[in-house]
């Protein structure tokens, strides 16, 4: 395997508390050294990272790559290109694929598809319950042995708290991580927008915050009861942040993330009946956004995910309530994180940690840092480069983003996954 030296970049590696200029040395797919030159190192490839930032490759805790039964929306092939161009080197795949990831055979198939797409670091989240129908436990241990990094029920409900308790007890027996989307389905009442001023004005079926906070509170209680490790995904409101903060204060082993769009958009940004803004959980209020940002800054929320959900055109064409929720979000992840930094919501080191070291810790992966011996997953980006979200630059098969047409600042120029260059931006002179 080729030896690579990344020169002249500003290296930011929060896990190792590094923020300085220098070189990164890579050989045999692993980080060899950072800043200090190893003796006798002769690179085959030199990447010039002048005026750029070199950091660990990003780890995304929630993505959907579609494919298989949903291949008209997107395929592994299309989406790994999007991931690579976004600096993402590790992906967690939600189990609501078609078929769902509830047997080792499907987990195996996911691994094969990932290999074939030339992007092996796709980790499936195994279904918590069979067919995700919320009634019978899946073979979690077998799923884990087949490569599933955690278990979860995607956005589907678990039928009742007794089943959730049993599932969490079982997961805890094998020290499996539960990735939980807090959402009470009954309270959600088939809503498609936040229960607030916007939904009231436009007569949209709405989802109260309590749909999230009540499910969150219940799961926190069960985490205490069962000892299950829980990571809460895609929190959307103020009171969820407060609940996680309290739980951590009392020593509960829980963590939480937020989807990048929730840190920027609120119900006030929604254009009437524009399905690009249809996401679940829904875009909430300014106060919620502020709290989510603060939660990140204070470490209550430790990760940012893309919550990438590419869709075909038809899925977003229709009356708002009947369109499918979700944004295609991998490629806007970095520029939107940088915008948080520019708006002084978090520091650059925090932002990078939320995309690398922290999710690695959630998943207990030896990655997310430029530590010698770790897999050489790295991202090099130009924080000043402006680019337009348009079909020329966009890689994902799903163009469903409210940022379409906008010019964003910050672009990944190189991505390395296990020492292999999987993205190299050709800059037009």
């Amino acid at each position: 395997m080729k030896k690579i030296r990344i020169d002249h970049g500003r290296i930011i590696d929060p896990a190792n508390d590094i923020d300085s200029k220098g070189a990164v040395y890579i050989a045999d797919g692993k980080i060899v050294s950072v800043i200090d030159e190893p003796s006798g190192f002769t690179p085959d490839i030199i990447i010039d990272a002048s005026d750029k930032i070199v950091c660990p490759g990003f780890i995304d805790l929630s993505t959907r790559l579609r494919d298989m039964g949903h291949s008209r929306k997107a395929t592994f092939k299309s989406e790994v290109l999007a991931a690579a161009s976004a600096g993402v080197t590790t992906l967690c795949l939600q189990p609501d694929t078609a078929p769902v990831i509830d047997t080792p055979a499907v987990a195996e198939l996911i691994r094969e598809l990932a290999q074939k797409a030339g992007y092996p670091q796709i980790y499936a989240i195994g279904a918590l319950t069979q067919k995700l129908d919320g009634t019978e436990l899946s073979s979690m241990l077998s799923l884990n042995q087949a490569g599933c990094i955690a278990v979860g029920n995607a956005n589907r409900p678990v039928k009742n708290l007794l089943i959730l308790r049993r599932a969490m007890e079982y997961a805890a027996s094998h020290d499996l991580l539960l990735m939980f989307r807090a959402n009470d389905f009954d309270l959600g009442n088939n809503g498609c927008a936040h229960e607030g001023v916007f939904a009231t004005r436009y007569g949209l079926p709405s989802i109260p915050e309590a749909a999230e906070t009540i499910a969150l509170a219940q799961c926190l209680e069960l985490a205490e009861l069962t000892g299950c490790r829980v990571h809460f995904g895609q929190l959307s409101c103020k009171r969820s942040v407060i609940k996680i903060h309290q739980a951590k204060k009392y020593g509960l082993m829980v963590s939480a993330d937020v989807a990048i769009h929730q840190l920027h958009l609120t119900e006030n940004d929604m254009r009437p009946f524009d399905s690009a803004y249809h996401v679940l959980p829904p875009l909430r209020t300014k106060a919620d956004k502020q709290y989510l940002r603060q939660g990140l800054a204070e470490g209550t929320l430790n990760s940012i995910c893309s919550d990438h959900q590419p869709h075909d055109l038809d899925a977003k064409l229709g009356a708002f309530p009947e369109t499918e929720p979700g944004m295609s979000a991998l490629e806007t992840l970095l520029p939107l994180m940088l915008k948080l930094v520019a708006q002084h919501a978090i520091t650059l080191a925090q932002g990078i940690a939320c995309l690398s070291a922290n999710p690695a810790r959630v998943l207990r992966l030896n990655s997310g840092a430029l530590t010698p011996g770790f897999s050489a997953d790295a991202c090099i980006f130009d924080p000043e480069l402006n680019w337009q979200v348009n079909s020329e630059n966009w890689k994902s098969q799903g163009g469903n983003t409210p940022f379409w047409g906008q010019t964003l600042k910050g672009r990944v120029t190189h991505t390395l996954q296990a020492g292999k260059i999987i993205h190299w931006l050709i800059e037009r002179g």
Binding site: G196, R201, G203, P205, P272, F273, D274, D314, A319, E322
Partner: protein, 320 residues
């Protein structure tokens, strides 16, 4: 965005989707135009040739007798060719998407769609997707808007109480699920009504309802005080099965409009209802058929107001 979609570059009506984004002047113009059509019904020849040669398609994805009929009559009296389609029972049940239905009809050289749909935003979606020469009139979309109903109610109010700035209006019943209520509130506020109240139990009010520009009451006796116009809303039977209300009789006891309750309002208050009415549920028969009721007037005014809106939306291009 809503206003841009409804109005063309000269600020004329292109589509009629929602009251939101329309000016007081434009609403007044609609009422004035309707005035000129109003007495036509009593003429021997009930037709004007304004829309001769135009094709109007009533697309009803949700059943409705009254609204569809008045739209049909309005189109016919403007001399347009009109076709009514009950899509609730045809194409979409065969799996055809909303967009495909529209595309198919578009290619039959239609000039106007009148759309009723069970989902909020359906009329906006069609207006966005349809060819630029086609006008879209919203005949009710989900819980969002029913702007022609609001305009015919404004017309009816104006006939009896011409100065909106002196009016206190109470809307009573299922505000949460009511597209009529949302449009009435916007129309009344745009026309400068002194006060708009909503009176309902909390289960039938949307969150932050006060953001619509209304004062909120949970009790008829206080809510009806000093009221000039009482607007009743229909109570759907399914509200009982979805745990929003305990029973029809309890609802009638609290929010049903009886002669006695009506006495709390101003003595010359008028009583309105968009229909169809549930006698003994939201309104007592004595009130519905009583001297203060203008319910049937609303229905006949529906034709003139819809004629006005159709004519104005079709005039925008100026081409025959």
């Amino acid at each position: 965005m809503i206003d841009n979609l409804q109005l063309n570059a000269e600020g004329k009506l292109q589509h009629f989707l929602s009251i939101e984004g329309l000016s007081k002047d434009l609403l007044t113009e609609i009422l004035d135009t309707a005035e000129s059509f109003a007495d036509m019904s009593e003429h021997k020849v009930k037709k004007v040739p304004l829309l001769r040669g135009k094709t109007i398609v009533n697309l009803f994805f949700e059943n409705s007798t009254r609204t569809r009929t008045t739209f049909e009559l309005a189109a016919t009296r403007l001399s347009a060719d009109v076709i009514s389609m009950n899509i609730a029972t045809s194409a979409t049940s065969k799996g055809e998407s909303l967009l495909d239905t529209i595309r198919n009809l578009e290619s039959m050289f239609v000039d106007m769609f009148v759309v009723r749909h069970a989902l909020s935003g359906a009329a906006h979606f069609i207006a966005q997707q349809t060819a630029p020469h086609i006008s879209v009139i919203n005949a009710g979309d989900g819980q969002h808007a029913h702007p022609t109903q609001a305009m015919l109610d404004m017309f009816t109010i104006r006939q009896l109480k011409p100065d909106f700035s002196k009016l206190r209006v109470a809307i009573i019943g299922d505000i949460l699920h009511s597209r009529v209520a949302r449009s009435e509130i916007q129309a009344l506020n745009t026309l400068g009504a002194a006060e708009v109240r909503v009176i309902a139990p909390k289960t039938l009010l949307p969150a932050h309802v006060e953001s619509l520009g209304v004062s909120v009451f949970h009790d008829l006796t206080t809510g009806l005080k000093d009221i000039d116009v009482v607007m009743m809303l229909r109570l759907q039977k399914e509200r009982m099965t979805s745990a929003l209300l305990p029973s029809e009789s309890e609802y009638f006891k609290c929010f049903g409009l009886t002669e006695e309750k009506l006495k709390i309002a101003k003595p010359d208050a008028i009583v309105m209802h968009p229909g169809p009415i549930n006698r003994g549920v939201e309104i007592d028969s004595k009130v519905a058929d009583g001297p203060q009721s203008v319910i049937l007037k609303q229905v006949s005014n529906g034709i003139a107001v819809r004629m006005a809106i159709m004519a104005m939306a079709m005039q925008k291009s100026g081409t025959a």
